[in-house]
Symmetry: C2
Subunit: 284 residues, 2 copies
């Protein structure tokens, strides 16, 4: 089975390494080609466009940042859906929103290509080790065709038709990101009131909220903590959450304020930092 992988960002790159470890014939594409060269030394082919990549692959993974990127990598003249052969499967692993994912499926179906939306949960370390958690939306038979590749990347489950993988991801990320927004305001409040964060955590003890506060406060206060999830991507995910909720005529006033908070942090230049660093936009 020949696997194509588009997008060698923090996650995509580790997934490519993992697929090479697992013995797949791998073709990669990245906008900046240099990023692909160490993988080429390990035996990956490097395609010059998503379209070329797709033509040579049975299963095509797309792992990029947002809708604009996916319009390029999948839907454009040089895109993978344009280039894939009938019977191929495109596994869209970027975090998008359900309506757009269904648009991708329609475009794929017209060319007799299968499409799954399969966003992931997990760190880059988990990606490297094939321990991602993958929520898949799509048809059962398409899912079966992609199974060997999904098996190599982590645990996965079919949660419904195309769009549902994304729905699960958006619900979970909406909670995770909002939680970080709350914890950041809580930490800023503690500092303003002269409350020692470690003492407050001791008081909260084993309560699940105390555990969550400890988890994020330490990350907020640790300047050397690695970037596990870029702030600009968190802001984008919240935008997709709100767009989807609005389509369903559901207001989410708290989460709307979370999105604004992350947007402000992005404007202040914190977009490439870990999303926990939204805290810095609230500090004095």
């Amino acid at each position: 089975m020949r696997v194509g992988l588009i997008g060698l960002g923090n996650m995509g790159y580790r997934m490519a390494e993992r697929l090479l470890d697992e013995g797949f014939q791998l073709i990669v594409y990245n906008r900046t080609r240099e990023r692909a060269l160490p993988l080429a030394e390990r035996g990956a082919e490097v395609a010059s466009s998503p379209r070329e990549l797709a033509y040579r692959a049975d299963v095509i993974i797309d792992m990029v940042s947002d809708e604009a990127a996916v319009r390029n990598t999948l839907l454009s003249e040089d895109g993978a859906i344009t280039g894939a052969r009938p019977g191929a499967v495109v596994v869209e692993m970027s975090t998008l929103y359900p309506q757009f994912v269904r648009e991708l499926e329609e475009a794929a179906r017209e060319r007799d290509i299968g499409l799954l939306d399969a966003p992931v949960l997990g760190s880059t370390t988990q990606a490297r080790e094939g321990r991602l958690s993958i929520m898949v939306g799509g048809d059962e038979d398409v899912y079966e065709r992609a199974r060997p590749v999904l098996d190599a990347l982590g645990s996965h489950r079919l949660v419904g038709p195309v769009g549902m993988g994304t729905a699960y991801k958006l619900v979970i990320n909406a909670i995770l990101i909002s939680m970080v927004g709350v914890m950041a305001e809580g930490l800023a409040l503690a500092e303003a009131m002269g409350v020692d964060p470690e003492s407050a955590l001791e008081v909260m003890g084993e309560h699940p909220v105390g555990k969550a506060a400890g988890y994020y406060w330490r990350r907020m206060l640790d300047d050397s903590a690695p970037v596990r999830f870029a702030l600009r991507l968190a802001e984008k995910d919240m935008r997709y959450v709100l767009r989807t909720a609005a389509d369903l005529v559901r207001e989410l006033p708290i989460m709307a304020e979370v999105q604004q908070t992350f947007l402000r942090a992005k404007r202040l230049g914190l977009g490439d930092l870990d999303y926990s660093k939204v805290f810095r936009s609230l500090e004095d």
Copy 2:
């Protein structure tokens, strides 16, 4: 040592039972006297006003709902600070805000009465069993005088001068309540998108946020879950959080939206339910 306890609400009543178990001579006061009668059968005296109660007690616990109630129970002509003898200690255990607690201390000091702010964390069950977690603000010597009573009620620590017990409590409750607001929006979003909450929890697994989501979602969806923390008190606490932050010139836009969400739920008649039931105000 004679202990007075003002306010036989959900928490105060259990604390009174605990103090009787522990052998304290107890005098109680409650606005509606009937609530005190079962305690009288167990040996508690029932005072006809906080003032009368305070005159006969060495340590006076105040455990009522909000600032307006405390103005009655402590500061009014019939209040405990008006009635207490010099050398007595008032332990204010209601959740208030630091500036008001410092006002109470000034009033107490004028009459040579010690004051501690000692808000509690824990359920009514924990109150009944003397397992509350108590954050105390005040002078060391006043704290020592109240220690036997605090020992009977739970674990306690002196966290700073008067006002700091309240500061810790507000930071912790701000996070707890905001977390519940986020989880409620997350659950409403899941339902709107057709995402099964239990499946989403399985995907989140052991992540601290998944644990917190599980904890609150089950409480939101369980109509028979007991009232552990009344929604109207959560709304009041968020109001005190925002008031305090504004005094410190700190904006908390996410938490402000949380307060509005709880206020709306209160207006919709959900004030006496458990605060997790804020979810009902978001459901279709």
